[in-house]
């Protein structure tokens, strides 16, 4: 009899957890659906804002450029020669290049990056931006 009572008490304890699980599941679903996962930007890079809509490429070779024009690929600082060598690798040929540049980068510095990409034979470049607030 006392054993039956202790099982009932344990079940009642589990019943109290159900609202908690409901809330945690709702939070989990919210973060899974509303959040977007993307590779982190190098420190100090802030993407420009844009109202134009554009889909993210499924697979791309990501190049990040900070305000001073430094190039980053997979977290490593690169010069233009090294970037060209990376792009010449068989697995990187014919790939879309995702260009994530700082919003304060000057047009002249952007020209230099684009020139390197052209010399490497890149045919498709996607310029990344953050979705701006609707006006």
């Amino acid at each position: 009899m006392s054993q039956l009572r202790s099982v009932r008490a344990r079940n009642a304890g589990d019943d109290n957890l159900i609202p908690l699980i409901n809330i945690v599941f709702l939070l989990l679903i919210f973060f899974m659906v509303a959040g977007q996962m993307h590779s982190p930007l190098e420190a100090g890079i802030a993407l420009p804002e844009s109202q134009k809509k554009g889909e993210l490429p499924k697979r791309a070779f990501t190049v990040q450029v900070d305000t001073s024009g430094r190039l980053f690929v997979a977290g490593l600082v690169m010069d233009s020669a090294l970037l060209q060598r990376e792009l010449a690798l068989p697995e990187n040929q014919h790939r879309v290049v995702a260009l994530q540049v700082d919003k304060n980068l000057k047009a002249a510095a952007l020209d230099e990056v684009l020139a390197v990409l052209r010399e490497s034979g890149v045919s498709s470049i996607k310029l990344y931006s953050r979705q701006g607030a609707e006006s």
Binding site: F31, E49, K103, D111, L127
Partner: protein, 137 residues
Amino acid sequence: MNSALISRRKARSIGLTALIDVVFILLMFFMLTSSFSRWQAHTLQSQIGGETVSDSSAPLFLLMFKAGHFALFRDGEQGALGELNEVVSDLNSSELDARTLVLVPDSEMSVQSIMNALGELDALGISAVSLGQSAAH
């Protein structure tokens, strides 16, 4: 009889603690890794790199862009400096279909300004714009 009932109940009950552990770990993972700033990607049509709008033999309209003001170069002649909608209002759609509009920013303009200009052109219905090499300051 009682002990048989108890053991059957024990076997049927699911341990919620393990479930909560896993769900909490998933929740922490998604809270820490997901971001709410939406990213988007635009195909860069550029005279320097990327895709070109049309073949290079087509004559070009140059749209010079400096400090929020624009000037249209048409057949080698510079138009008046002004707001974007005033400057491009002279162009009709058939002209734009036949010729390429190239945005030439000043070398000191920021990427944000270029994106703003491309967004404004898109809002005006001109989406086939190529980014040209920046002009010296």
